[in-house]
């Protein structure tokens, strides 16, 4: 190990700082590893003895690290928001699917009831056919005619329905999907705001406490000045 130092390098004699690195970076030490905390605790005491190039370099590492930390914070927020949106979307989709399934069940029952009623009418028509034994009214033909006409009508109705449903489903699908996405996003935004408001309250409380504590400690700032005055007025006697 050499005991050469950057202070002895001629080219660095007139080094001009790139950063305001006279004071060490101040940050929450809990954010770094235990080893870093130990090294920092040792070096902070001797910060003023570090060459400005090193002070600058450390400060530059600190700035780069802070930037990545900010990116992490933003990504974490985004992740949280996307996760909340995903969960909201899943919940909305589940509810939507359950609603549709329930509607289908109701429609299915309605269709079954109608089929039963039609069956009953069919039986009634047969009864009437038997009553009109001589076929004076031509019930069999009338029924066949009705069936034929109804089949035609149903076909037309089905075509009309199909056309209507195609347009309807296109409109509904596009809007429903957008609404579901928007609703999920709105819910996650509301969650985000609730968390932000919680953080604002926590910071406001912490800052008020810090202000009170700092005001109490200000007395030591004055004390230092008093002691400095005292020191300048005293001198030592040579011991006899």
């Amino acid at each position: 190990m050499s005991n050469q130092s950057l202070w002895k390098i001629k080219e660095l004699e007139n080094y001009e700082r790139k950063f305001e690195s006279e004071l060490p970076p101040y940050y929450d030490f809990e954010q770094v590893s235990g080893t870093h905390q130990e090294i920092e605790a040792t070096i902070l005491e001797y910060w003023e003895y570090l060459h400005p190039v090193i002070q600058d370099f450390v400060t530059s590492w600190f700035h780069s690290w802070t930037q990545v930390k900010k990116d992490i914070e933003n990504l974490e927020n985004e992740k949280e928001q996307r996760l909340s949106m995903l969960q909201n979307y899943k919940d909305n989709s589940k509810t939507k699917i359950q609603n549709l399934e329930s509607k289908i069940n109701i429609k299915q029952s309605e269709s079954n009831i109608l089929k039963q009623k039609l069956q009953q009418k069919e039986e009634k028509i047969k009864e009437l056919e038997e009553i009109d034994g001589e076929n004076r009214l031509g019930i069999t033909e009338l029924r066949a005619e009705l069936e034929k006409q109804l089949a035609e009508l149903n076909l037309k109705l089905a075509e009309m329905q199909k056309k209507f449903e195609e347009t309807q489903s296109q409109v509904t699908r596009a809007f429903e999907n957008r609404i579901m996405l928007f609703e999920s996003e709105v819910t996650s935004l509301k969650d985000q705001i609730a968390k932000q408001e919680e953080k604002i309250l926590q910071l406001q409380t912490e800052n008020t406490q810090l202000k009170t504590q700092t005001n109490k400690l200000k007395i030591f700032e004055e004390k230092i000045a008093e002691i400095m005055d005292l020191i300048t007025t005293i001198s030592f006697k040579e011991p006899e």
Partner: protein, 254 residues
């Protein structure tokens, strides 16, 4: 104490090699070689500093080497975490897209079933109305012996014609309701869009407030930290002064 370094007055300070407390310092990291990283990804100032320090690395004290190396490691750890988060975010976005696709397919399938059933019900209802009427007509024709087969036939045809008219009306109603549904959806989307905009504005305002409060918090902590140090130094100073025998001190008044 080591050699006295010949430095300009403002730099007349000890080097790390001359600090007695650091003499036995043992490196905590493998920092004998400068950190290996892609320098070009860093800021220009950082690159310039790296260029100065790298060739002079061996002249740094082990503690200085450790400190810089440790910052590099912290940066690396943070970068890894950032990459991990970016990957997680990509996965979440993929899951969102898959969930959306699956949900849309399922909803489309169910909507299809629902529409088929609605159409079936409409047909069944029409058929039931017609058969009800037929039953009524037949019942009254059987009772009324005068009603001829031809009249009954005409009645049936009239009913079918009525039904066709009814269908045209139904179609118009469909179209109106379709437009209404479209308008309702549009309104809902606009409302949600507006709400989203307002919420995003609130989020931005809150972010600004949080950033301001965090800055204030950091400054207050810094100040608090400095004042706490003052307090400790005063206590130390007071104890040093109190230990000096009074007979060794003279006071120059005024």
């Amino acid at each position: 104490m080591g050699d006295e370094v010949n430095l300009p007055l403002f730099r007349k300070k000890k080097t790390f090699w001359q600090i007695k407390e650091l003499e036995g310092y043992l490196s905590k990291l493998n920092s004998q070689i400068p950190p290996d990283y892609e320098v070009t990804t860093m800021s220009l100032d950082h690159q310039a500093l790296d260029e100065i320090i790298r060739p002079n690395w061996e002249y740094l004290h082990s503690l200085e080497q450790d400190f810089i190396f440790s910052w590099f490691m912290e940066y690396q750890t943070a970068q890894e975490k950032k990459k991990k988060l970016q990957k997680e975010l990509e996965e979440i976005n993929k899951e969102m897209a898959d969930t959306q696709h699956n949900s849309e397919s399922k909803i489309d399938e169910l909507n299809g079933q629902l529409q088929m059933l609605s159409s079936e019900i409409l047909n069944l209802k029409n058929e039931l109305i017609q058969k009800n009427q037929l039953v009524e007509d037949l019942s009254s024709a059987i009772q009324d012996k005068q009603l001829s087969r031809k009249e009954l036939q005409e009645k049936l045809e009239q009913r079918i014609q009525d039904m066709k008219k009814e269908m045209i009306l139904q179609q118009k109603e469909f179209e109106t309701s379709q437009m209404e549904i479209g308008k309702q959806f549009e309104k809902k989307v606009m409302e949600l869009d507006e709400e989203k905009l307002l919420l995003n504005e609130t989020i931005e305002k809150n972010k600004e407030q949080i950033s301001k409060l965090e800055k204030e918090n950091m400054e207050l902590k810094k100040k608090h930290h400095l004042l706490t140090n003052f307090r400790e130094k005063i206590i130390k100073l007071q104890s040093i002064i109190s230990e000096i025998p009074p007979e060794l001190l003279t006071r120059e008044d005024g």
